[in-house]
Symmetry: D2
């Protein structure tokens, strides 16, 4: 397969003018679109409808263009909108274009970016944030990895997931049916869903063993984590949407993906480690997860993100990591997403880079 | 004079336990204290009472210790509390200790940190943010600079100011007396007061000419600025409090101050430029002003700080600049203050560093 | 004309299931829809995209159902989404259905609710919040009133307007063309646009005289106001959308509209005054504008809405007025909108009630 | 005893000018002060330091005036500062003055307001929000009730409590000692502490039985509650501070207290029920607890307070209940406190009124 990665600014969550231009210029064939990741300018928390607005706008536009029903389009293309462009982060879309007609039968000497998508079934409210979600995600990620045509599990560098959250309505639905949900705090449900999804990735890649997971409290053990999982919760889905990325000898195109983990919010050197010995022609995008260190301390000093009741700590964490990474790359159109439960070490998070070799 | 600079963490705005320990250990003589700068964990905006709480705690403690009335103490020691430790910024005090008994009559070959304090009269509400404030500040800063014993205006590296703001009460007071205030928006009055104070510094140092200032709109011309002014508004003062810093051949001690400007929020290299050719033994503190670029763009990309009606842009700007600078110094106990009107270039701000040579 | 008013709850800004059910049940004919007002659960400020999401969802759904282009639909139906359901306010749509086929040639003895819609041209950024907007609105409102078939200007009880705001992008556009905008503060631009629109209504109804308006500062004189204007700014429009309501002897249907003003946020008795001597069978909806008293005081006591830098005062004002009115009606599905510049007396706002007679 | 109740506005948390004036005018003897309740203008959540600022200001002022150490003063006078004056709520102090010299040995025919104070020991972080806190509070409340000289437990109408919360520091302290805390979410710890304290009151008054309480989850059963408990968490205490109020035949003075519960946030008629058959000369103050209905619904309609990730639901609940009650009393200087766990029915809360008979 030939993979192309395009980054497009947006002036609002429903601004597709940049994408339209690329199609008009024939920069890419809309039939080859397989995934869109976006950073939209909402609060990234429960009541962030910028994700839904962007998703609806994309679905309306492309389903009309490709003569598909919205359901057909969403089945064919993975859409992951992550809310929150705090600080300098600049709202944008990243498009993943895969031309499957370009087939290689003999593996090449060099590895290039390979992309595959999958999704789980829709969850019942009582499944969100539980071991059921872990297992569903594990299976879906394994299906996605198979499609990457990689040699080795180490060639998987990034698994982006969009996962559901609990709303007052969904909680009431479970309660009415006599079921209990993992938490009645809607904001906290985002953490559970992100955590369960990340553990699902970890089990799929072998980074986490299933029997290490506390079935009664997905978030219990911070030592269990995946270094390639990036999960983002949103009100607009009821299932997990999965985008897996690796480097494959069967993939063509100019792009390569690498990863490492940020040990904490200040560890901007993770970019250098993700690049390894490569000397990129051009950095396309950085994908990072951010979280306020749950101990309340960073490098020995107290931080106040967890005791600030006016601003959600996920919002602050994105602003900080955005500032740290962008002061290094001098590019603010990067993907920093909040809430890194079971994604990288506690207080830190996974980081992936896509570059042009 | 011999100048000592001490940095002390605080666990809350009224936590003086770190300072108490330093006095018990005889690390410094409380009689020699001339200034305290602090970053406290409020919102840094109008209703930030953490500044008042820290100020009251300091005043109570030291006035009792030194057997002074609170008024006598506040006359002798400049207290500048800057609210807002968003993101990784860690609440702390910086103490400036000056031993005047150590007098040098012949200038030395090396220059060391020199510190002097001053203050203006209390303002009427209608004077805040106007040319009257500019002039008062100019005079007070000139008095402070004289005390620095420097050879050259280029040896002034940092002028920290605490300035007043308008509250609903103060506005009503002016209105009752038939006077009009510069703005009836209390949050905006902080910008006017910071701007007028910074212009006062600029006029005092010669960076700005008095006749360039638009008397009817202090904030009109972003091209006028001081590279050494750092001004911070707070509800707890009715006058400007001034702390001036320079390097003097008559000063002893291990400390040196340098400065430069951040061209924008990502310009963390300003730290290198402020250090110049020095190879510091130890970085003591970084003092920076942060602001969301008023154009709504940074390095060509849109940012959303000015259109986010949930979080004040000054809060976000501190989080970003804190992330950018701390990812370089790996120290989160730094002084980043918001609102850089007439302080450094638009979208950027002045930055000073104190280090041990 | 026969007018029907329907109120429908929504579970999210893109939830049209309630409306769909009414169409399936043939409660109303979608061809007769002339206006939809909605309260959506965003922050009601600059970056509130719930309004856009609801608008887009409605437009997509109905244009498909009625076989119209989105532009044709939006030309035919006025959509006014007002963001902000703080406190107990419950997100909902109010549908206005007008059957024009039911014509009356001889006026009846009783007056019933009559509804008409209009809109202005799209504005340039530099026109927003200026006298140009006032004049455009005046003309459009006069055209709408003509359609109401009322005898007397006193029969106009409510003129709802959706008006545009300035974004960083729109401001830059004006600046690039060498034009200046009324304010560079995007949140403040909402106030200017609401104020100019309300004055346009006031001039159209004769409540305000054109030459009383300060052309250089639309918001200057709080004594000028309309008692029937309710204006709401949103990022999703570039023109003013107008819904006028009155009572007409040529209208049939069960509904009546009345109005009065709330003198301040506590004046819930305005509902009684709006009802007058009527004994309603059923209260359909209450439409009120809320604002934090700009003096910082209410009934002689200080309030802190204007000095709270964490929460926009428009959000708080809606929460308070929602609490005050709903504690009287015991119905939380009411329309309370923020920012009452030139709408009712300062600190208060207009209030309209629609009931079944 | 003779009890006097005074209400004093404050212009900021450290503004004691109103109290000073009352002392200068000899309206009350500072030696007779037993309790101060205050509503201060912070966010009422974890990082609300307005409570600490008001408490410190009061303690400094009175300890100097009465020639006591701060510790002696705080032992003698109960200080309960409740943060959060959202919406129209107006910051103020309520002073309780008790002259013990006025002793009555024969019970009178009429009952008048009687006030008594108590406190518990300082808690370890791991005790906060647990059954240990319930028991400590129960004992302290029973001691306080004894001092009220009432005939019957039904004569207890209000037990106000200030209780501690967990901070990142306190949690770390417990963790270091190998102890686990009830929650690691600092904002949530406020709910646990309020809940445990309220249950302590309930057990003391007989409204709740000790064996009904789930020892592993204080917040588990919303059906357990006290109708007279009002508990408020704050960073400034490590123990529970208790102010009990009842009507006694041994008390003199003009004041009477009554109570009822608000069934939900709209139930402003609770004021009428609390007054019973009394025809008050003057309403002195209303004390109410507010909470966002945990079901996400109120009177059958959805509310969005629990899914709004920008504003804490406790802040919104205070704004709503403040609006509802003040629109009835037309007095905004009332005491509405947030978080009604185990205080009144779920979604509602206790309400007490003090009036002049």
């Amino acid at each position: 397969m030939n993979v192309q990665v395009l980054k497009v600014p947006m002036s609002s969550p429903n601004d597709l003018s940049g994408i339209e231009k690329l199609i008009q210029n024939e920069t890419f064939d809309p039939n080859d679109l397989v995934a869109i990741m976006g950073k939209t300018e909402g609060n990234g928390c429960v009541n962030d409808f910028t994700r839904a607005l962007a998703t609806q706008s994309i679905t309306c536009y492309f389903s009309k263009l490709l003569d598909l029903t919205p359901a057909q389009f969403e089945n064919r293309v993975s859409i992951v909108m992550s809310g929150g462009t705090e600080g300098v982060l600049s709202p944008h879309f990243t498009l993943f274009i895969v031309n499957e007609s370009e087939r290689i039968t003999t593996p090449r000497d060099v590895k290039r970016l390979s992309v595959a998508i999958e999704h789980t079934k829709d969850y019942l409210p009582e499944e969100i944030g539980t071991i059921s979600q872990v297992l569903e995600v594990k299976n879906a990620v394994q299906r996605a990895i198979k499609k990457l045509s990689i040699e080795n599990i180490n060639d998987v560098h990034f698994v982006q997931i969009k996962c559901p959250l609990l709303t007052s309505e969904r909680i009431q639905d479970a309660v009415r049916r006599g079921k209990s949900v993992v938490t009645e705090d809607t904001y906290e449900s985002m953490a559970y869903s992100r955590g369960a999804s990340a553990l699902g990735v970890g089990v799929a890649t072998g980074e986490v063993k299933l029997d290490q997971i506390d079935k009664n409290n997905i978030l219990a053990n911070h030592d269990l984590y995946s270094k390639v999982a990036s999960t983002s919760a949103g009100i607009e889905v009821l299932h997990d949407v999965i985008i897996a990325m690796g480097n494959s000898r069967y993939a063509t195109g100019k792009f390569v993906v690498g990863h490492d983990v940020m040990e904490d919010a200040l560890d901007s050197e993770a970019i250098d480690r993700a690049l390894g010995n490569s000397v990129p022609k051009k950095l396309i995008n950085v994908f990072a997860k951010a979280e306020a260190d749950p101990t309340g301390y960073i490098r020995g000093n107290r931080h106040t993100m967890l005791t600030d009741s006016d601003i959600s700590h996920t919002r602050m964490a994105r602003a900080v990591v955005g500032g740290a990474l962008a002061s290094k790359t001098k590019d603010t159109m990067i993907y920093v997403s909040g809430g890194a439960e079971h994604q990288g070490p506690s207080g830190g998070g996974p980081l992936a880079v896509i570059w042009e070799e």
